[in-house]
């Protein structure tokens, strides 16, 4: 197992190199650079700075160098944990992303928990009562959840919070805790706000998982070993939870590794609409302003997360399903 993981990790290296090059190309694609976009932006808001002043800044940030050199600067730094510098925020990218990454993960984990807690029981219920009215209506609700664009759900949530609940949402903290140091009260406040984005982000995923769990359960419930378990004299409850769910949940567990990176990228739009202090809006902003190391690092980070998620998925599946051996 350990050698397998090490081997897989080693195999990631060439993949990562190619991905980093592709990322760099992608973030370099838009014409111009950060200072061009800044200049236009400043001109729009009627302030202006001299071309020469910008050229001086370009030089400071190595933007006057050829592309391949810029790439080597960046990737060389990445290896040492320095992901470059954000032009707009004048901070190392690592600091910026780091600050928001925590909340991003908390939110994604929250959505993950939400998805599991809601989807799995409903999936099981739906499968056990297949083709009943409750199954039909749950399926229908799940489909609706899948079909509403999550930014629309986010808009509705925003509307509700401003006009019905007096505007406590929009962000993850109340005014009095927004800038306060971490404390139990602040965590509590966070939890009070977190559920809105968690539900909005988790909606589509919950629907998908519910469908998956239902299918998986249906498949497993028809297996002979379920009958065997019943024939043993096991109570129905145990037949379902110990035998059916234990196997039916394997595919869910194996996708769990992928769910976190998927949730992180899926939350971008929702976070933009709801104005959440997570990494997504920062990435969007970086794309707008061509703050390329910030955008590139975020893209790379998610790619790495996805690759690790893949690995994690394989490992998890091997852990829960004795039939699978990692070699």
């Amino acid at each position: 197992m350990l050698t397998y993981i090490v081997r897989r990790l080693l195999r990631l290296i060439p993949t990562l190199i190619v991905i980093s090059i592709m990322t760099f190309i992608i973030i370099q694609l838009p014409p111009g650079d950060f200072f061009d976009s800044l200049q236009a932006q400043l001109a729009e808001s009627e302030s202006r700075a001299d071309q020469q002043a910008f050229d001086a800044l370009r030089k400071q940030y190595h933007l006057d160098k050829p592309l391949w050199k810029q790439y080597l600067f960046w990737i060389g730094g990445c290896v040492q944990g320095d992901f470059g510098y954000s032009f707009e925020w004048r901070r190392p990218v690592a600091d910026l992303i780091g600050e928001r990454l925590g909340l991003t993960f908390v939110m994604s984990l929250g959505s993950l928990v939400f998805m599991w807690v809601v989807a799995i029981p409903i999936g099981i219920y739906s499968a056990r009562n297949r083709l009943s009215w409750s199954d039909y209506s749950l399926t229908f609700v799940a489909f609706i959840g899948l079909c509403i664009p999550n930014f629309v759900i986010a808009l509705i949530a925003m509307y509700a919070s401003v006009f019905w609940f007096g505007g406590s949402a929009g962000g993850l903290f109340s005014q009095e805790y927004k800038y306060a140091a971490w404390s139990l009260a602040k965590v509590w406040d966070l939890l009070g706000h977190l559920w809105v984005p968690v539900v909005v982000i988790g909606a589509a995923g919950t629907a998908t998982m519910m469908r998956l769990m239902r299918t998986s359960m249906l498949d497993v419930l028809d297996r002979a070993y379920i009958t065997t378990a019943r024939a043993k004299g096991l109570a129905e409850r145990w037949v379902i939870y110990k035998y059916a769910v234990r196997v039916a949940i394997n595919p869910m567990i194996s996708i769990m590794g992928m769910q976190i990176p998927q949730l992180v990228s899926g939350s971008i739009i929702v976070a933009i609409v709801l104005g959440l202090p997570t990494t997504g809006p920062l990435f969007y902003r970086a794309l707008e302003t061509q703050d390329m190391y910030l955008a590139g690092t975020f893209l790379m980070l998610l790619a790495v997360l996805l690759l690790l998620g893949n690995l994690l998925a394989d490992i998890l599946l091997a852990l829960v399903d004795p039939r699978i051996r990692l070699e």
């Binding site: 061009d36 306060a180 104005g275 809006p281 302003t289």
Partner: protein, 636 residues
Amino acid sequence: MSNRLTCITAVVLGLVMVPVMVPALEYQQAPMLAAAVERGELPPLEQRLPPLPMIVEPVHEIGRYGGTWHRMMKGSSDFHAYSRLVYEQMVRWQVSETGGLEVGPGLVREWEFTDSDRTLRLHLRRGLRWSDGAPFSADDVLFWWHHIANDANLSGSLPAYWKPDDTPMEVVKADSFTVDLRFSKPYPLAVMYLAFKGNQWPLVFERSGFFAPRHFLEPYLPQAGAADVATYATFEQAANDFNPERPVMSAWRVKEWEPGNHLLAERNPYYWKVDPEGNQLPYLDQIRMEIFLNTEMINFRAVTGMLQMQQRHFTRENLPLLRSFTEKRDYSILTYEAAGIRAIMPNLQYPGDPALEKLLMTREFRIALSLAIDRDLINRLCYDGTGRITAMKLHPSAPDYVELTHAPNYAVYDPERARALLDSIGLDQRDADGYRLGLDGKTVSLIMELATVVGPDMDAVEIVRSQWEAVGIKTALKPEERTLYFQRVAQNGEHMIGVQGAEATFPLLSSARWFSTSLWCEWGHHWARWHLSGGERGIEPPPEVKRLQQLQAILSVTVDADERKRLWQEVMRNHAENLWVIPLVSQATSIGVVSNDFGNVSERGVASWVAMTPGYLNPETFYSKSARALTTMDGR
């Protein structure tokens, strides 16, 4: 008025230069500072204030200490959201008796022109201290001049406004509190530039300024001639406006800066202004800037009543929404005058098509286009009737404001006359779709380019398009990404018609669209190029434009006020008669919200970049009516 008087009093008292003044006022300080003094963390107030603090008259009443100013800031390129609150220039814009803007004292308590108006002598206020307690002196100005403005690695080249006639000014220290600026010719604009660009360097991305804390920055100074960019980056880090370590001269100093998240500024214990009762300003303990990335969040915060005072980033179309919640959330709508002139600016040297260039250059054609626009309709539909219909004229808030009389007005709606005019210049033939044919037999097809995609300004242009089509001129709209727009206009001058705003309060400081002397001028890019290159490149302008270009040069050396007004009348008449640009409807107001709990916020004002609104309205006198003052320096 009384405000001005107190200033003058201060100046006069300063001139007497009594070494130890018995303070006419008993000075008071904020509780949090008093507590710090008590704990021995700060010297007593008398040692922190200059001998003669600047007295600022609040617009309404004496305020009280305490409170946090909650505001929002969009990204760090929106640094104006903060820097306008800590507006502390060498000299400052202040409200004149006529309600316009004029230059008044700031860090410089007095100034005078000598040497046939070629030398500007600045008298710095004495005994001022940086927020870390170090004294402020002429050396801080000279530090900026020698080590920042003249270091190409930091500043590129010297800003054009400090080298009139392409000759850099000389900055000479007469004594610790007197600085001479020497120019090669009379340069009255220097005072305006001191009010506009006389801030602490670098103002984030604007990278302009006039002084910097020598004692703090000297250790970071790159070795002379060092090419290592890393040392410059370190220097920039230290000098950066958001660096909490960096001392400032403003009412608040940055305490926490979390990029992408928030900014916290706290009162400067060494701030050198007091109210008429001797209370050290500012009243407000701190400023909290929430950094947001989604523009909609600002409306969100406003209608939930979480902003104390903010007029950035609100758009007119949200006014009904903002108004709907004023009572429920206890705030008021703030309407400040916006002094821009929005106009359609045809490229009069359009390089794409000679026939079209000739047509655009035809005055009657432009007049016809102007007459075809129903500006009242646009005003009603796009700006709720609050827009301003004006030709290229100075706004009443302009320091040089003068009325223009007996000039033709083409900003009226007269489609019949427009049609007749078009027929009369030979555009009487129509194509199969009913569009007018040009003199070359091809359909006249106009393209308006603009750097906005949504919002009332876009809607207005859309209406213009339909109205031009109604008189038979085929017109298309081309909304462009702003980078592209400025590239097309300012770099290449290849656009056909641009739609933009022109400055109407300080046209000389933002002159691009007035005089055709800058490449940013939509209607005269190639003429400006000719002018700037001394006739080597670009296109030679017609005499009327040459006169405009000349007028700018004359205005920039004329100190006499009456003469300036006369010159301005000529500029405006030139525009009115030639109609270089076709005036549209300008947003006359900039809206904002102010909490009903917030005091001393002037109901009237001009929203202007140059005046750093609300900076010139003395934000240090704003106060919260309900807030309790913080008693520790570490208030959260």
